[in-house]
């Protein structure tokens, strides 16, 4: 294992992972609810987990501590802390709901409070990698169960009966024999004095008694605020005396400011100041790119002022970056041998002896996140103290990076997490908050930095760009006997370390070296590719190109051998088994232990079968329509998608129907799983139809939603059906937010082939179908 085998740790590139003593005082500060009590903590014990996850290995690990997460006020209101960021997945509701379920709290008497960034106190807070439910289902249940036991003990003492005779039911503790009851509020003070149960002694609720979990009937806690305009996102924070800033950043990544002329800008009504912003040298990690800031009394004036700036830039080493030439470089590299990252059997020999070799060359361009809320943050720096309000996926990392950037102690930094207007990985990087901090420090006033959509498109942390080449060898019976896949793409690690030319284990492990097919001879190679812009995580990350290539090739093989796509897919998956990837060094399994989360082809087959059945695979279709299928395991979940496409004579495509089956193990809120998968279909369709960021002279050529379009409602699938595969009794929870994306594009492309006979190998589809 190396230090970048885990994106959670990659964030910690700059942070040494400290073992901190959590002082009692800082723990008790927890919720700060006066008049209430804060429950005491059981110690975390590994044994207590029914299954093992990688949660403990994340920076700062897991905190199983009800004193930190739960408070009960005398009026019975239970406050539960959400320590993960809400960006649309529903996590701010789901995690507290788990606690409420186990403690028998009545959800209507529960308030959710957002935790600020403090990983020593709350454990890891990175909301990424589709990890929150996966890592926190069990800890949250234990926290809730501890609280319940303490309330029960307090009631039993009050009544002078054995604790075994009482039980917590819906916000009360009851003694059936004497029909006595006490509410949680009335018991709060006594419960606080109770012995904290050890985790090993906790009896978790029998899932058949769940009132909330798995039911999907609880709406997200922010629903009313969202529909009334009260919900507060990063840009909605307003402080007295706050200044508004926009920044002109170097148009080429790694470029530098040479000079600027602010005379015209300063004439704009409302503009107050123009100043330089410090930038960091390439590769700049999550640090600001630098540039020139316009400070104004409102954002509109700041934007207008920025338009009037005259700036000279030095483009630096990436000024030659050009997408057409780079594509050729990647494709050339994919045609030559590269670093071998998996080798089972002898694919070279098997390809030579094969009856027939099918070659597929695929291209997947850079993508921008364009979360609906462009980055924005507010900072208030006073002396050696800083307070930040920002829509960040990584409040703990933001805190550390702010402290380092301002050179102040970390405990002097408070990071308040607002709602995120979408994240998709972009807001795992806190550069925009650091910009606000730098400006506030210099101005001595609170500052809001607002990115425009153009800023977001020009200066993002893009999804990588890949050339994928697969050669599959068939014997005379049409059986696939050889598979050689080369994946060439700049790595996210290049944003942290100069000279990076290979994909990191966490990228290789996303659908490339973990390819699950039962083929005797498999080679995976990763030829070199250098980065010329900032590369970052984009929802489902390298699974996008890898799944696109692998699942498109399945469609190509089905065609070459005259087989039904689904039958081909099942034949390649092969027998139900646990896949052993012994030839892969540093196999990255989404940070999870392979024992709890192996690649299980029975589950892979099952989602294919479920989606085929529910999605009415092989149904009769009108002329011009076609069905495509794809399956992919990512974030340790299993997902299969069937897409029906219609292509008219002019080549215009519509999507009448999408069916997706997901096996994400034990789950919490099926209603939010459904919404994530519905959304993933839209994001998949967007990237397949339109998604492409290109560079010329080192600059991004797209600007806004006109030249980087995303799917709108009039082109959305008419129907998206989500089929959740019921988990086995002991199946641990797995990811939901990201895994819906990867199978969509190849299923669509396979459907287009079925409808038209045209095989799309290069994304986006763009005008390729036009006649």
């Amino acid at each position: 294992m190396n230090f970048i085998d885990n994106p959670g740790k990659l964030r910690g590139f700059q942070r040494s992972i400290r073992v901190e003593k959590v002082s009692r005082r800082s723990v008790l500060k927890g919720l700060g609810i006066s008049g209430g009590f804060v429950l005491a903590a059981p110690l975390m014990s590994r044994k207590a987990f029914a299954y093992e996850t990688g949660a403990g290995k994340m920076p700062h690990g897991v905190v199983v501590d009800p004193r930190v997460f739960v408070a009960i006020a005398p009026d019975g209101v239970v406050t539960i802390l959400a320590h993960r960021s809400e960006m649309g997945t529903g996590v701010r509701t789901s995690l507290p709901l788990i606690v409420a379920e186990e403690m028998e709290a009545d959800w209507s008497k529960v308030r959710v409070q957002q935790a600020h960034g403090d990983e020593a106190k709350f454990g890891n807070q990175d909301t990424d990698g589709s990890r929150s439910t996966r890592h926190y289902l069990m800890p949250m249940r234990q926290i809730g169960a501890s609280a319940r036991v303490m309330l029960e003990q307090a009631a039993a003492k009050r009544w002078g009966v054995p604790a075994t005779e009482v039980k917590a039911v819906n916000h009360e503790v009851v003694h059936d024999a004497t029909s006595r009851k006490l509410g949680f509020g009335a018991l709060a003070a006594d419960a606080a004095k109770e012995q904290v149960p050890s985790i090993d002694s906790l009896k978790l609720k029998d899932p058949k008694n769940f009132r909330y979990l798995t039911k999907g009937q609880i709406s997200i806690v922010d629903l009313h605020d969202i529909t009334t305009g009260k919900a507060r996102y990063g840009a909605d924070v307003r402080l007295p005396g706050m200044k508004y800033a926009v920044i002109a950043r170097p148009p080429v990544t790694g470029g530098k400011l040479v000079s600027f002329d602010s005379a015209e800008a300063l004439k704009i009504s409302g503009v107050e100041k123009v100043m330089e912003v410090r930038g960091w040298p390439w590769p700049s990690k999550f640090q600001p790119l630098g540039g020139v800031a316009v400070i104004a009394r409102n954002t509109g004036a700041a934007i207008k002022g920025r338009d009037a700036l005259k700036i000279v830039w030095d483009d630096g080493p990436n000024g030659q970056y050009e997408s057409v030439a780079f594509r050729k470089e990647l494709e050339d590299a994919s045609r030559k041998p590269g670093l071998v990252v998996r080798q089972d059997g002898d694919a070279d020999a098997a390809l030579k002896s094969a009856e027939k070799v099918i070659v597929g060359e695929y291209y997947i361009p850079h993508l921008a996140h364009v979360s609906m809320e462009p980055p924005a943050a507010v900072a208030d720096v006073k002396g050696d103290k800083a307070e930040i309000w920002a829509p960040v996926q990584s409040p703990g990392g933001t805190r550390e990076d702010t402290a380092k950037t301002l050179d102040i102690p970390e405990e002097n930094v408070t990071v308040n997490v607002t709602l995120l207007g979408g994240g998709f990985g972009r807001k795992s990087k806190c550069d925009f908050a650091l910009e606000a901090a730098l400006l506030s420090k210099e101005l001595g006033a609170p500052v809001k930095v607002q990115w425009t959509r153009e800023d977001d498109v020009h200066h993002g942390f893009l999804h990588t760009v890949s050339a994928e080449r697969i050669e599959a060898g068939l014997d005379k019976n049409g059986k696939v006997i050889a598979w050689r896949h080369r994946s060439v793409a700049p790595s996210i690690a290049s944003t942290f370390a100069a000279g990076t030319v290979h994909q990191a284990p966490f990228e290789l492990g996303m659908g490339f070296v973990d390819m699950p097919f039962e083929i005797a001879n498999v080679t995976c190679e990763n030829p070199e590719a250098a980065a010329h812009t900032r590369i970052g995580w984009f929802r489902s990350v390298s699974n996008i190109p890898h799944a696109f290539a692998v699942q498109s090739m399945v469609g190509e093989l089905a065609h070459a051998t005259g087989r039904d796509q689904k039958e081909m897919l099942l034949a390649l998956i092969g027998s139900p088994r646990i896949v052993q990837l012994s030839s892969v060094k540093d196999l990255w399994n989404y940070g999870e232990p392979y024992d709890s989360y192996p690649i299980d082809t029975a589950r892979l087959r099952k989602v294919v079968e479920v989606v085929a059945e529910k999605g009415e695979w092989a149904r009769q279709l009108p002329k011009g329509h076609g069905l495509g299928i794809a399956v992919h395991r990512s974030f340790v979940s299993y997902i299969a998608t069937v897409v029906e496409v219609a292509v008219d004579e002019k080549g215009k495509l519509t999507v009448p129907r999408v069916d997706t089956a997901i096996d994400c193990g034990t789950y919490v809120n099926p209603e939010r799983i459904q919404s994530q998968i519905e959304g993933a279909a839209i994001m998949g369709l967007s990237l397949a139809k339109y998604g492409e960021i290109t560079f010329k002279n080192g600059k991004v050529q797209q600007n806004n939603f006109d030249d980087f379009p995303v799917v709108r409602i009039d082109e959305a699938p008419l129907v998206t059906n989500v089929h959740i595969v019921p988990p086995g009794p002991e199946t641990p929870p797995s990811g939901v937010g990201e895994p819906g994306v990867p199978p969509f594009a190849p299923a669509l492309i396979n459907a287009i082939f079925a409808a038209t006979g045209k095989r799309i190998r290069s994304l986006p589809i763009g005008k390729q179908l036009e006649t």
Binding site: T89, I226, Y244, G300, A301, V370, M683
Partner: protein, 150 residues
């Protein structure tokens, strides 16, 4: 000095008359429910009602709406119970929620204009509003529900 009425309250502005209404609402009037998504009339996040029309406040200047009545998401209904808002909650439309104020204002304008839109009409009328989270199926269903009685 420009006079405008926002959510029933008269307000005045003596700054840059060209200032986009969006920034007046958000930064000067403190009504942050109206969102910035693109600044170019491409996404609909900034949609407000000007009299009865849905308007993109990011490309509408304060001067353009002098003397007009502006309704933002905050003023759509006193308790947040406009049929569109109720339908939105019943269908659990939002994911991140950032586009939803604009979506709701657009839908409210649509229903004033056409109380019983067909699904095609809904898709057409709502096509200027982007939802990057992809809540479209639910948006369509919620507008339909609002039009048939919540």
């Amino acid at each position: 000095m420009i006079k405008i009425t926002i959510n029933g309250q008269e307000q005045t502005w003596d700054g840059d008359p060209e200032l986009p209404l969006l920034w007046y609402l958000r930064d000067e009037a403190g009504l942050t429910g109206t969102k910035f998504g693109c600044g170019q009339a491409l996404c609909g996040a900034c949609t407000v009602l000007v009299d009865k029309d849905a308007v993109r406040s990011c490309i509408t200047s304060v001067a353009d709406v002098a003397g007009r009545k502006i309704t933002t998401i905050e003023g759509l209904h006193p308790t947040g119970d406009h049929p569109v808002q109720k339908a939105w909650r019943q269908v659990n439309v939002p994911q991140c929620g950032f586009c939803q104020a604009g979506q709701i204002m657009q839908a409210a304008a649509l229903l004033m204009d056409n109380p019983k839109p067909s699904h095609d009409q809904i898709r057409e009328a709502m096509s200027g509003n982007i939802c990057r989270c992809g809540c479209y199926q639910r948006i369509e269903n919620a507008v339909h529900l609002a039009s048939t009685g919540v």
